[in-house]
């Protein structure tokens, strides 16, 4: 597969509006290679819209976006895991093989890659199970395996552990950290500050569609963060900005 660089991902003055509702308001940020980047914010901040635009699934109402300096590359080595991933009506094996096929992996190599991905996400024993009958955490792992099948240089994760129990959350976070350690750039959205602190290297803080702060994780979680961010981290309900 020809190397395709999706980085840096650059959003310049990106807005997204639906009727009178502004979901994203002039957001500008640059995502470079390195440790995972988190988009943090309360529910309704516009995080998922931002991620969909970053993936190229939604077009911004105004502003510009580019991947590796280009404005319209095919998403060959870009992958996304949705908050509630949909499993194809196939086995775990069938789901991952489909993703491998779409990633352009040669037929002869697919079985080897499949076994590697199953091992990577801890689903070796469940390969022949119907994917739709798995638990929420297992489905997320299948979705991660499908995403990793694309051998992505940019992996977008929408609330990767929402609704999962602590054990499943830990397992998912280990897979994500492993992917990041192997060189995959992770861009994740989350409303879980503790998870962002555990996984991310930098944080962009989004509230009501506006980017309020961008900082390295250590700084963001220190007393140097903005008052609004500190309020969010204290657990206050942010209703006015």
């Amino acid at each position: 597969m020809a190397p395709i660089d999706n980085l840096p991902l650059v959003l310049s003055g990106v807005s997204y509006r639906v009727g009178d509702l502004t979901l994203l308001d002039e957001v500008s940020l640059t995502i470079k290679a390195g440790a995972p980047t988190a988009i943090l914010g309360p529910n309704g901040a516009g995080k998922s819209s931002l991620l969909n635009i970053a993936m190229g699934l939604m077009q911004p109402t105004s502003g510009a976006i580019s991947w590796g300096g280009r404005s319209d590359p095919a998403p060959l080595r870009r992958a996304m895991v949705f908050q509630s991933p949909v499993m194809l009506r196939r086995s775990v094996r069938g789901n991952i093989l489909f993703a491998l096929e779409q990633a352009g992996v040669a037929r002869a190599e697919r079985e080897t890659r499949l076994q590697g991905l199953l091992a990577r996400v801890g689903l070796v024993g469940l390969a022949d199970r119907p994917a739709r009958r798995l638990s929420g955490g297992e489905r997320k792992r299948v979705a991660l395996a499908r995403a990793l099948a694309r051998d992505p240089d940019l992996l977008l994760l929408d609330e990767p552990t929402a609704d999962l129990d602590p054990a499943a959350t830990r397992a998912l976070e280990e897979i994500i950290a492993g992917a990041a350690a192997s060189g995959v750039k992770i861009l994740m959205v989350s409303h879980d500050a503790a998870q962002v602190r555990r996984l991310a290297g930098e944080v962009h803080f989004l509230v009501k569609g506006r980017l309020y702060e961008s900082a390295p994780t250590a700084k963001f979680f220190s007393d140097k963060a903005s008052p609004l961010a500190q309020s969010f981290l204290r657990g206050d309900l942010i209703t006015e900005t």
């Binding site: 992958a79 949909v86 194809l88 009506r89 196939r90 779409q102 694309r150």
Partner: protein, 230 residues
């Protein structure tokens, strides 16, 4: 009671007249389903998967045609195939081919409408994942058809049920000619009017048994697929 016993005897002893009628009925209805499937499934998939001006009107029209009156279809096919009709020169009127045409026209909207709904529902589920995986539209379509195969088979089955139980259209375009175009439904109507209740009941039992057997097979297939694929 006596008619019932005689009906069973006709079935058990393999009465050649009864089985010839059953065989012809199956041949006509299964061929009609095959043809209707070849047109109806792609048509349903196309409507589900594309947007074009007039799509809503086409959906309403196809849904409405699910309830096409068989005698009206029979009349239209009769007019088309009669000597003075546009296809009269083909000499198809009062042949099994005419009955296949009538049944195929009758059930194509059923198969198309059910296929459209099935594929549209699955596409609304799959859409974002497929787009995120960069799947081509053609590959999306083949994946949808594959993953919806059990539901689509059920659509074909619904078409078969309608075709096998239909009497008006095949009566008009087939003529109910003994040994040539006499099907189970037209034979039942005729034998009942003649008072030969044994033959009528024997054919009725065979018709019900065929419909139950096909539905049972589909249910088993569906159960196996669901247990394996979810």
């Amino acid at each position: 009671m006596a008619a019932g016993t005689s009906a069973w005897q006709l079935i058990i002893t393999g009465d050649p007249t009864l089985y010839a009628i059953v065989f012809l009925s199956l041949k006509v209805s299964l061929t009609a389903v095959l043809i209707a499937g070849l047109f109806g499934l792609p048509l349903g998939a196309l409507i589900a998967f594309t947007s074009f001006p007039g799509r809503g009107a086409l959906v309403v029209l196809i849904n409405a045609f699910m309830g096409l009156p068989p005698v009206v279809v029979g009349l239209c096919v009769y007019l088309a195939l009669s000597r003075s009709g546009p296809l009269g020169a083909m000499g198809l009127l009062f042949t099994p081919t005419a009955m296949i045409i009538a049944q195929a026209i009758l059930i194509t909207p059923i198969i198309a409408a059910l296929a459209r709904q099935t594929i549209e529902d699955l596409w609304s589920e799959y859409r974002n994942e497929m787009l995120a995986m960069g799947v081509s539209r053609l590959r999306c379509l083949t994946a949808l058809l594959y993953d919806a195969r059990v539901s689509l088979f059920t659509a074909l089955l619904a078409g078969f049920g309608r075709a096998a139980a239909e009497v008006g259209a095949v009566m008009i375009v087939g003529g109910n000619i003994e040994g040539f175009t006499r099907t189970m439904t037209t034979a039942i109507a005729l034998e009942t009017s003649k008072g030969d209740m044994a033959m009528a009941m024997g054919l009725g039992l065979m018709l019900i048994a065929i419909v139950i057997a096909i539905n049972a097979s589909t249910w088993i297939l569906s159960s196996i697929t669901k247990s394996r694929m979810g």
